[in-house]
Amino acid sequence: MFSPTDDPGPNFAELLRRVGLQPPTPATSLDGVLTITHGTTVVAVRYADGVIMAGDRRATSGNLISHRAIEKVFPADRHSGVAIAGAAGPAMDMVKLFQLQLEHYEKVESSALSLEGKANQLSSMVRNHLPAAMQGLAVVPLFAGYDLARGTGRLFQYDVTGGRYEETNHASTGSGSLHASTVIKLGFGEAMTRQDTLDLAIKALFMAADEDSATGGPDLVRGIYPTMATITEEGFERVPEEEIAGRFGELIAAMSLREAERTTLIAETTSDHGGLQA
């Protein structure tokens, strides 16, 4: 027990520091010394009932694929979720610590933090991680949740220094985020349905995987698909894998059909061309 003037209050990270369980920061840069496992593309999109978060399943170490089925989208508490990109080890630890911090606060204070408070909490965790990021262990999360006070979904993007940026419609981070966010930007509309938003996020991840080698596409051989979750007034809920598989199936069928049409068209033009020559 701590004396009243020296009490860490509901702050779990501070408590860890006091008892010496805080993760250490590497003293020198790890770049080129060790290969670090990286997680890649995650997106969050606001829709009519709240927010959808989605992430691919690939982790890479340099140019090797180190995991095919890691999870990058996690519940932070009942009404919010966190998705990660960057050095996988510290990122997982940051998520675990963030989840614990929210629960710890709720238990000690007997009331949950506001969504804004949770976003700021994550911001300070990323900022405290900056020394490790400087040594090559950068972690860049996304935070999204349903704001019960305002009755809407909200999303927050971060940078490696802990900068916190609230986005109105969509957010993404990780190596494939450029491609993913372009797809979302073009397809986004106000108050979209759950189905349309899931399809948009799936398309975004597919396109990111198509262009970025560190982002994993759907693995049809092993049946591994991106993870997706919805956060609404009812709380954080994972989208069932069968549903994701079905939607990916539709996207792939539509794209194959288009590709087939295009090839026949090319074949026709070339054969016409050939005919002229003859």
Binding site: M1, F12, L15, L16, L21, K96, L100, E103, K107, V108
Partner: protein, 225 residues
């Protein structure tokens, strides 16, 4: 140089125990009863903001009677110990028995070494996957730990309450039955307690990670009806 009067250690301990018991008897009592779907903890508490019963961890609850600031300090220490253990090892490794032992050593230490003992009695309850795995640890102001398996009563008139609850107890209780028995025991023969005078929480035997749930006033009233 003045010499302090010699006081026999027996007398010192007795005085401290009397002091603590008097402090505890000033507050209202609390009962915990095991039922088929978990554990219900029921306290007589007119305040809806200053809690006597609260969550410590996934399957563990805490309850205290006596001096509010003292048991609240113990509650926070318990949340910290449990969260730290779950972070350092795994969530499954956090259990009520080791938490109860930690509380017992804190209370024992304070009782013998500090100026004044803590005027509290606390309960650490854990719901298990089966009824046989449910745990109720009742810890006294001097660090004495008692392990109960069906029900326990904390507070000033514990003996009378215990007798009343013993009489009403049945091993086929559902939530409503267990709650009614607890409330009748707390009220005694001369009073009746309504849903508004109580603070009730349950540890439910569910698959969900967090088993602790507070019962709001309308739900309490429905169960007591």
């Amino acid at each position: 140089m003045t010499m302090p009067f010699y006081v026999a250690p027996e007398q010192v301990m007795k005085d401290r125990a009397d002091y603590a018991r008097k402090g505890i008897a000033r507050g209202r009592s609390l009962a915990a009863v095991v039922y088929d779907g978990g554990i219900v903890i029921c306290a007589e508490n007119p305040s809806s903001t200053l809690r006597k019963v609260s969550e410590i961890y996934d399957r563990i609850a805490f309850a205290g009677v006596g001096k509010y600031n003292e048991f609240d300090q113990l509650r926070i220490a318990g949340v910290r110990a449990a969260d730290l253990k779950g972070y350092a090892y795994s969530r499954e490794d956090v259990d009520a028995r080791s938490l109860a032992n930690q509380y017992a050593s804190i209370l024992g230490q304070v009782f013998t070494h500090e100026m004044k003992p803590m005027e509290v009695e606390i309960l650490v309850a854990e719901v298990g996957p089966e009824r046989a795995d449910d745990r109720l640890f009742h810890i006294l102001y001097d660090g004495t730990v008692m392990d109960e398996d069906a029900f326990t009563v904390l507070g000033g008139e514990a003996e009378a309450l215990n007798a009343r609850l013993e009489e009403a107890w049945s091993d086929s209780f559902d939530l409503a039955g267990a709650l009614k028995a607890a409330v009748t025991a707390l009220a005694g023969p001369d009073r009746t307690l309504g849903a508004g005078d109580l603070e009730v929480a349950v540890l439910e035997r569910t698959d969900a990670r967090r088993a602790f749930r507070r019962l709001e006033e309308d739900e309490r009233a429905a169960l007591l009806a």
